[in-house]
């Protein structure tokens, strides 16, 4: 079923991408709130909260086309290479930067991320590393965000809050609920001169929490 003809695959990828965006719009009326930045072409790393597999497609869907083409989500290779369909959607529709989470592999994730930045890409990353299933709004951040900010200090690190997906698509459910999803982009942060890892990651988590719209319930 899945063809190896590159032109056909590219057409299919565009079509699937359109369908995903239409579906996201129709079910969740997903909308971007540009609170701290303008939707203009600048190299950015969008770092977001992670509660559901729907987070990344939501952020990707609300980016204007020119920005979306420039933006690559950083995602787990073990998830996206599991089936031929995922191996098509992850790398070809979303243009993911795939990283290997297995501890025994010494392929360095940070090298791939930095290489993507040096090619001019913006990135979407989830610094919590895993989906957050608990009651706390955020899990502790992994070091990756700090390392990106230290190695490429010119890139804007944009806190990005995806609201409501814990209700729309909780882990383990198959049917998504059509509730309204809002993606809020906050004010960019950078690693300060001489700032250490823990202080920066605390500050980043704080910036992400401040991006969150007022709690309604």
């Amino acid at each position: 079923m899945i063809t190896s003809n590159p032109t056909l695959r590219r057409i299919a990828a565009r079509f699937v991408g359109h369908s995903i965006r239409l579906f996201a719009r129709f079910t969740t009326a997903v909308r971007a709130d540009w609170k701290g930045i303008e939707p203009v072409q600048r190299q950015r790393v969008y770092f977001a909260n992670h509660v559901s597999n729907g987070d990344m497609p939501m952020i990707w869907s609300v980016l204007p086309p020119a920005l979306r083409r420039q933006t690559r989500p950083v995602a787990a290779a073990d998830y996206w290479l599991k089936t031929p369909l995922r191996a098509f959607i992850g790398p070809e529709v979303f243009n993911c930067v795939l990283i290997d989470r297995r501890p025994e592999v010494d392929d360095k994730p940070m090298d791939k991320i930095i290489a993507a930045i040096d090619e001019g890409a913006s990135l979407i990353i989830f610094p919590e590393g895993n989906r957050n299933m608990g009651d706390d709004p955020l899990l502790p951040f992994k070091a990756g965000l700090y390392n990106i900010g230290r190695l490429r200090p010119d890139v804007d690190l944009v806190p990005t809050w995806v609201a409501n997906l814990n209700h729309i698509m909780p882990k383990g459910e198959v049917v998504p609920l059509p509730l309204i999803c809002t993606v809020t982009f906050g004010t960019p942060i950078h690693v300060g001169p001489g700032e250490d890892k823990d202080a920066f990651l605390d500050r980043a988590a704080q910036a992400l929490l401040e991006t969150r719209p007022e709690d309604r319930v």
Binding site: A29, R31, E173, V175, L177, P178, E214, R216, V217
Partner: protein, 312 residues
């Protein structure tokens, strides 16, 4: 004149009003100094554009008949339910109950209306959905804030599905001597209620002094009375499209407009409670769908019931 002819006449009338409003807005734009824009004028023009879209959609649906109107209001109900349930209390245990609400209860209700099965669509949500959905939530075994969760979900279904479905349901009434022109009741209801709202909004903003529900709604006694008077006047003028006669049309317009304004106040209280200004950002310049339809949502079941009680 045929029903279609009357509908086309009403549509052209609405277009005429919108053209005048568009011209007024454009004239205000022209009066602005070169290169400047006024926030008030631009907001007004965004609203007028949204009205154009709504009038065109509703007219097309009315011309298509009961299937078209049911479909249009099913889509509106979906958007309204989405806005409502986004703000309600819920937990993971409610996932299936909420999914049933969206994907089973809502379509079934509008299908029952489309086929005119009044025995079903008048009891389906308040009896069957009311009793069944809490069971599904309870089976998942989470009692935390249970009553809040099921009560708020049921409120959402009553508002966005049950009440709203009474707009297309008007077409299924069988009024003696009306000759199958029931679709005109929808036009009458929507025109009277929305016109009353508009007059209340602008008159109240200018001349309103005494607040009706301080701390909840900006509505004033003066605005509401002016809106009601406008609704009654328009109802009287439009009595030729109704089966009610002059005094009946005046009474029905008053009942619809009053319940519509009551709905407006109730929805303002809910928004206050949840700390939001608008229900969503769906309609440019007007906020969410519920912001636009709140008065029609409250007026529709009452208008349906009174028509049924007195004229069938």
């Amino acid at each position: 004149m045929s029903t279609t002819g009357e509908l086309i006449l009403l549509t052209l009338g609405a277009f005429g009003v919108l053209i005048v409003m568009t011209v007024i807005g454009d004239a205000a734009r022209l009066r602005m100094p070169q290169g400047r824009t006024s926030v008030m004028v631009e907001t007004y023009m965004t609203r007028v554009q949204s009205w154009w879209a709504m009038v065109i959609l509703l007219s097309l649906a009315l011309l298509l008949g009961v299937a078209g109107v049911s479909l249009l209001f099913a889509v509106a109900g979906f958007a309204a339910l989405r806005e409502f349930l986004t703000l309600t209390t819920k937990s993971r245990a409610d996932h299936w109950a909420l999914a049933l609400g969206f994907f089973v209860v809502l379509p079934l209700q509008f299908i029952f209306v489309g086929f005119g099965w009044a025995g079903l669509f008048t009891v389906f949500v308040p009896v069957y959905a009311f009793l069944l959905l809490p069971v599904i939530s309870a089976l998942r075994g989470n009692s935390d804030r249970f009553l809040m969760r099921v009560a708020e979900t049921q409120w959402g279904l009553m508002i966005a599905v049950y009440c709203l479905s009474h707009v297309p349901a008007l077409m299924t009434l069988n009024i003696d001597g009306y000759g199958g022109r029931e679709v005109l009741l929808i036009a009458f209801l929507v025109i009277v209620v929305q016109a009353g709202d508009l007059v209340d909004l602008y008159f109240g903003r200018r001349f309103g002094r005494r607040k009706i529900a301080p701390g909840i709604s900006p509505k004033t006694v003066e605005g509401v009375l002016a809106g009601l008077a406008a609704a009654v006047a328009i109802g009287a003028v439009l009595n030729w499209i109704t089966p009610f006669g002059l005094w009946g049309a005046i009474g029905m317009a008053a009942a619809a407009s009053t319940s519509g304004m009551a709905g407006n106040i109730v929805f303002a209280a809910i928004k206050r409670d949840r700390g939001v200004r608008d229900w969503s950002h769906l309609i440019p310049g007007q906020g969410g769908l519920i912001d636009q339809l709140d008065s029609v949502i409250f007026a529709a079941p009452i208008f349906y019931h009174l028509s049924h009680l007195v004229w069938t």
